[in-house]
Symmetry: C2
Subunit: 314 residues, 2 copies
DNA sequence: TCAAAAGTGTTATCCTTACACCCATGT
DNA sequence: ACATGGGTGTAAGGATAACACTTTTGA
């Protein structure tokens, strides 16, 4: 009656890494060149097949990343297993499945090696960066999305599309929600507005090979959510940093500006950081005290993180 | 330099489903018998290999579940891909990897079919049920965990173990955190206190085949977290229900009792439900108004859910 | 002297928590 | 009458958001 165990046919299993860092005020992702699909070279994520020699999935991932980029990974967590879309090559493989287990990694230093390169992740998602106010490209995107909704087969379908647009791109009830990165990308994909889906221009951002941009979107959404209840930002910070630097990194990740005073108070009274003796001279203005992450906070609070204090202000 | 695409060797890929329901006051999981490892039959989750005929992972999962249990699934989300532990059969397969992509499914009705059976999930995690106060088995477990910490190779390792015990089982700072189901299970596993790891008795709950109990722990933790910011509880409720029923289901999921008045206010003012005209006679006491889920809340609030109003009270 | 960034303090407001209490039905 | 669960109101406390303001450096 019952099968003995989830044993399998012979699918292809790949490993892929979304490796993020935050140097200066820019959030970065590590990319490698990929022999082009059709025309020339494309950008992609470090990736490779799972091999029998790999002791675990995660160890296999680390091996591939070191080999392709020279980067060694610290914090690593599993993101999602992709297998449903753009991953069945049709007849050529006799219908074999192609899965890809994607991981999120956070690193401190950004030493690019071999062919790899660090890119700002807003290169792939320009409309996700609200630090300088509402991105102008959103107006054009919104217009195209509404046209897509209007072109729906039935009125109900049109209404559903409008609801989704409002939900993911704001306008509905509560405005922009920075965590819905993946939902926005999938909506643009369905509407045919991303280059991967055949859009003529790059209004919705730079394309990536295969479904790597979907993986990146998944990673950004996850990270934007996670900084609120886990102190993962510090995986991106040097051992000592100023509160201003910390704030700029959080702003870079979340894509929105924060209220300075409240951010400082929040960080301080949550016990996330402690002072060091050192101060730094720095770019213009009064020297700032250097802080370090307070590891003990993990034992004290149930969900220590940076509940973003909303408002935009200097 | 760069490999063309995450293409693979020949691992075995399985699909597994944690199917949850809430009938009356008990939270349930759907299990199937598994031809025993060693001695007799064990309980397991519905599962089966990914096959070339499956159009997507999720469709493959639905097919396996219907075939093994007769249950058709509504809400389904991917949980995690397990592959690192208990999943390399050693020499027999020449070192092939065995992965398992686990899914969480929520269903309304509990019609058992074939060999499958609904079990209370606290059968597998008795210490997770705090509805009748602190479970007595926790005292014995805590004693064994402390013995495990004391038996560490080095003092630092002993301290680390104590920290983890405090963090996952309470005592540290903030007491019991109902979301850390997986972390608790993994700690018990490492300490050798679960039957799967060879513990002599079932103090830490009933065993399951393979790593299925780990999957169940992952599912419970995810669900306990998710009800706080997504209205997933309603996937478990009938179309019309009383606020009392809703509260009892939430309590069953989270394993803690809630404060009645605040729960009602919360649900009401969040706009999660709306009244129907009907009332129900019910078990003892004044007849209650029947409510239904307000679907529009999805469009209105960024994260509609049931932020548990802490305290235990009638 | 001024710009720029660091850093401190205070107040209004909202949400959470807790407590007290009334209502309608079955036994 | 009373037990049981349904249902409403309100006051105290804490966290958030917004505001105003001082300090210390470099140009």
């Amino acid at each position: 009656m019952t099968e003995p165990e989830p044993i399998a046919s012979a699918p292809m299993v790949g490993l892929a890494a979304v490796i993020l860092a935050a140097t200066l005020d820019e959030p970065r992702v590590l990319t490698v060149p990929v022999a082009g699909q059709g025309a020339g070279r494309a950008e992609g994520l470090p990736a490779g097949p799972l091999e029998p020699a790999h002791p675990t999935l995660e160890r296999g991932l680390r091996a591939w990343v070191e080999r392709q980029t020279g980067q060694s990974l610290g914090y690593v967590e599993q993101l999602y297993t992709f297998g449903d879309r753009n991953r069945r090559p049709g007849g050529e493989d006799g219908g074999r499945h192609a899965l890809s287990v994607a991981y999120l990694a956070l690193v401190r230093e950004a030493r690019p090696a071999a062919d790899s390169a660090w890119q700002s992740w807003y290169r792939y998602f320009p409309y996700e960066d609200w630090r300088a106010g509402r991105p102008p490209s959103l107006d054009a995107l919104a217009a195209r999305l509404e046209a897509w909704a209007a072109a729906a087969a039935s009125p109900e379908e049109g209404r559903r599309r409008l609801d989704r647009i409002g939900l993911t791109f704001g306008a509905a009830g509560s405005g922009w929600n920075e965590e819905r990165v993946l939902e926005r990308y999938e909506l643009l994909f369905e509407a045919g507005l991303v280059p991967e889906a055949g859009a003529p221009d790059a209004l919705a951002g730079q394309a990536m090979a295969f479904d790597h941009r979907r993986m990146l979107a998944t990673a950004l959404g996850r990270l934007r959510g996670k900084i609120k209840y886990r102190p993962v930002v510090f995986e991106l910070m040097p051992p000592a940093f100023t509160l201003g630097q910390l704030q700029r990194v959080v702003e870079a990740l979340s894509g929105v500006l924060l209220h300075k005073q409240n951010f400082r108070r929040l960080v301080a009274q949550q016990g996330l950081v402690e002072e060091t003796e050192a101060v730094t001279a720095e770019t213009g203005g009064r020297p700032a005290r250097l802080m370090r992450f307070r590891r003990e906070v993990l034992l004290e609070r149930p969900a220590p993180g940076l509940r973003l204090p909303s408002g935009r202000a200097g």
